[in-house]
């Protein structure tokens, strides 16, 4: 049973495939951001109490009005949340509808935070046990989600919004409109 000549090249061909594959993978920048598995999925069901006296509370049904929204996860005790306040104000000024979830917070602290850094939110829910935060696959504060008019999560922005994040989020909102 003499092996056929060309079969002797098969191991080399397989090995070459392996080398090409890993070279491609190595040359590609490693993705360091963990994407939420919730992207493309509807928001979980929740109905939060209000977190501030002058804004209404937040529940899942509020997202089903056909209008895309930014959902900002923040907390008064979080320093980067204060850092992104100007960017949120800019987003609101340029027409974004921003709703928020305040994670593990006290009403008086939220009020003080909003008084100091401005209030770009149309609604604020109080997520006292992080249930909404965990339910939508957010790993920390601040995070900002783009949710379309049917309550489906379209994009997740991790960390505080930087200057270049404003354009990006507006673009994602426009995409969610379609």
């Amino acid at each position: 049973m003499k092996p056929i000549r060309w079969t002797l090249w098969v191991p080399l061909a397989l090995f070459a495939t392996f080398c090409i594959l890993v070279t491609v993978q190595l040359s590609r920048p490693a993705s360091t951001v963990v994407e939420s598995a919730m992207i493309g999925k509807p928001l979980p069901q929740f109905d939060l109490p209000p977190a501030s006296a002058d804004r209404p509370a937040l529940k899942t049904a509020d997202f089903h009005d056909g209008q895309p929204k930014l959902l900002n996860i923040f907390a008064s005790w979080c320093v980067p949340c204060a850092a992104e306040a100007p960017q949120l104000a800019e987003l609101e000024r340029r027409g974004a509808n921003i709703v928020a979830v305040a994670v593990r917070d006290r009403p008086e602290d939220v009020a003080a935070f909003l008084a100091r850094y401005g209030n770009p939110y149309s609604r604020i829910g109080a997520d006292n046990f992080s249930e909404v935060q965990l339910g939508i696959g957010s790993s920390g504060v601040p995070e900002t989600f783009v949710v379309d008019g049917n309550g489906v999560i379209r994009y997740q922005y991790i960390g505080d919004i930087r200057a270049d994040g404003v354009e990006l989020l507006l673009e994602k909102l426009r995409e969610a409109q379609r």
């Binding site: 191991p11 080399l12 090995f15 594959l21 070279t23 993978q25 190595l26």
Partner: protein, 652 residues
């Protein structure tokens, strides 16, 4: 001075490796009786001196670490004056640079040993083998000298060493990686032999006999390394599992599978001069698997629970070496294997036939593990992230593993070349009856899943069958190598029994317990007596005090901990284990729940320890075989020398 001495020794060793390669290549090119013959005589001495120099470089590094010479960067980064001496020593190879130096040292030392001792093969084959060894070595020398110099000086010297992390001062952690390295290096020697034999078309039984001790040695180290690693994951990770099909685990399993196949096919080649091209192929594959394993672990291309020692740049370097060595060897194989004369024929029912089945099954399992490990990489290339886990590996590997066990039980009873199952009918029937009896017995008394059920029954049958080759033979005159085979095969049965029992009969109890609460798990009664805070050098922990009783017997204490480390902040669960001959009680304490309740997780794992006893038996079997083979080789060489002397006397 010592650092400079070490570096100089390393450079000289590298130069000698280059000489060894060039002299070898010129000799091979010039053909028989050509001008290259003179150069060819340089190859063996070069290999020996290279081995000595590399060893000197490594000793220099050991001395630097023992003295804690803080003017050397590697020492300053990885050691500390206040360390116990054994960990100072282990610190020398417990880092990238040092471990690469250890690798090169062992490899060139092995090359030196071959050059000094191996006289059975034709000289041209030896020259080709040593040249291949030098070629592989040169890549690693380049890696060391150009990108990871272990002797780099620090100016000014560091005031204080950085390496006093008590987490890493673990005797198991100190000796586990070198164990695997010895295995990998042994396979590199087998690789060189295979390339040498292929280049000179001398794929002979003598080649297999020369290569076999190195494969055996490598295989013993890999077996022990995997066994120890599995036990480490079992008690350290606190999940109660002992094998996770994690990429790093697979990286150590794949060379072992290839080495196991190589070991068996080399035996066929040594005894019967068959399976020539296949043995060469396995020699190449076994070393590729250790290189691919190292690459996957070091490059961080696959994410893993063992994510340490990751460095993409080094990964690229290893990939380049991998491509050159393995690509080169496979090209030579494709060009030459067709011209290697065909080996002896044999019938399907024969020792060779059984070993071919073993080889096919092992290769299939290897392919399955490799595919499963690389599959996430493949899909990621198309933008999909997946992870492959036990639901794939277990059943698919079992498809090949279980039939292989049946053949393993029968194979050693068969004769070489041609045999009939009729001759071993009574043995086969006996083993078959045991398997069926155990199968029926367990299926009758308990309802367990199919795979563990088959596993236990096959373990019983294989354990019995592993002793059958001893039947009708004088135990005292039985070759040591045969004892080795018997014990290694028994070890497979023992490990299989442990694994099957673990997955079939493990009882788990998860509860939120208040101090004073009592619960049952299997035959054990467990009481949570108290939860106390305790403190270690860089951690604080909550320690559960459990008093446990086996079937109402005397009380034993267990103390699982939930530890909080502060640099870096990290929480770990230190499991508490209580071992009896028939299993282990495994206890883990978690965080505090509401109202002073503590998460307590208890497992009773009958016969789980047999997994590692089996692994140790397999290693012991390998060791016996190695001692037996080497002793026989030495005896033969002595006899041959005596004959030569007598002949000379007669002529005179």
């Amino acid at each position: 001075m010592i650092a400079e001495f070490g570096l100089a020794a390393l450079w000289l060793a590298a130069a000698l490796a280059a000489l060894q390669l060039i002299a070898g290549a010129v000799t091979l090119r010039s053909g028989q009786g050509g001008s290259g013959e003179v150069l060819g005589t340089l190859v063996r001495p070069a290999a020996i001196v290279q081995g000595v120099l590399a060893a000197a470089a490594f000793v220099a590094l050991l001395v630097l670490f023992l003295r804690t010479d803080l003017s050397v960067k590697l020492v300053a980064d990885n050691s500390h004056v206040a360390k116990p001496w054994i960990f100072k020593l282990a610190g020398a190879w417990g880092n990238h640079e040092g471990s690469m130096l250890l690798w090169v040292t062992v490899m060139s030392f092995a090359g030196g040993l071959i050059a000094l001792l191996e006289r059975r093969l034709p000289e041209r084959t030896m020259i080709a083998t040593l040249a291949a060894q030098a070629f592989v070595g040169l890549g690693f020398y380049a890696f060391l000298l150009f990108s990871s110099n272990p002797f780099e000086r620090l100016d000014p010297p560091a005031p204080e060493g950085l390496g006093l992390n008590p987490l890493l001062q673990d005797i198991g952690l100190a000796f586990h990686p070198p164990t695997l390295y010895f295995g990998y290096v042994g396979l590199s020697v087998a690789f060189s032999f295979a390339v040498g034999a292929l280049l000179t078309r001398q794929v002979t039984p003598d080649f297999a006999r020369a290569m076999r001790p190195w494969v055996l040695g490598a295989w013993i180290f890999l077996t022990l390394g995997i066994t120890a690693g599995s036990y480490w994951a079992y008690y350290e990770l606190g999940w109660g599992g002992w094998w996770f099909w994690d990429p790093v685990e697979n990286a150590s399993l794949m060379p072992w599978l290839a080495a196991t196949a190589l070991l068996h096919s080399a035996s066929v080649l040594a005894a019967r001069d068959a399976l020539r091209a296949w043995t060469i192929m396995l020699g190449v594959v076994a070393f590729s698997m250790s290189m691919i394993g190292t690459f996957l672990v070091r490059s961080g291309i696959l994410t893993s629970v063992h994510a340490f020692a990751v460095d993409p740049e080094r990964g690229t370097f290893i990939l380049a070496l991998l491509a050159i060595y393995i690509g080169g060897a496979l090209t030579v194989f494709a060009l030459r294997a067709g011209t290697v004369a065909e080996g002896q024929r044999f019938s399907a029912t024969s020792r060779e036939g059984a070993l071919v089945v073993n080889n096919v099954a092992l290769s299939a399992i290897l392919a399955i593990v490799l595919l499963g490990t690389l599959y996430p990489l493949l899909t990621e290339a198309f933008g999909v992230q997946v992870s492959v886990g036990p639901p794939y590996f277990n059943p698919v590997a079992a498809i090949f593993f279980l039939p292989m066990l049946l053949v393993m039980a029968v194979g050693p009873l068969l004769r070489w070349r041609r045999d009939s199952l009729g001759r071993v009918r009574s043995e086969v029937i006996l083993a078959g009856l045991v398997i069926i009896a155990v199968l029926a017995g367990i299926a009758f008394f308990s309802s367990i899943a199919l795979l563990p059920l088959l596993g236990i029954a096959l373990a019983a049958g294989v354990a019995l069958a592993s002793f059958m080759p001893l039947r009708g033979r004088s135990l005292r005159r039985l070759p040591l190598a045969t004892w080795g085979m018997v014990i290694a095969h028994l070890g497979v049965a023992v490990a299989l029994f442990g694994a099957a029992c673990d997955s079939a009969f493990t009882q788990e109890r998860l509860l939120a317990a208040r101090p004073g609460d009592t619960t049952d798990v299997g035959p054990w009664t467990v009481t949570l007596a108290a939860v106390e805070p305790v403190a270690g050098p860089n951690w604080t922990a909550l320690e559960g005090r459990l008093s446990v009783r086996y079937k109402g017997g005397p009380v034993t204490l267990m103390a699982p901990q939930s530890r909080n480390f502060w640099t870096p902040p990290q929480q770990t669960n230190e499991a508490a284990l209580l071992t009896r001959w028939n299993g282990q009680l495994y206890a883990v304490i978690g965080g505090e729940g509401e109202g002073e309740r503590w998460q307590l997780r208890l497992w009773w794992k009958p016969f789980v320890t047999f997994i590692w006893y089996g692994g140790a038996l397999i290693g012991l079997g390998g060791l016996l075989a190695l001692v037996g083979r080497v002793a026989t080789d030495l005896k033969r060489r002595h006899v041959r020398a005596q004959v030569a002397i007598r002949r000379e006397e007669r002529v005179a």
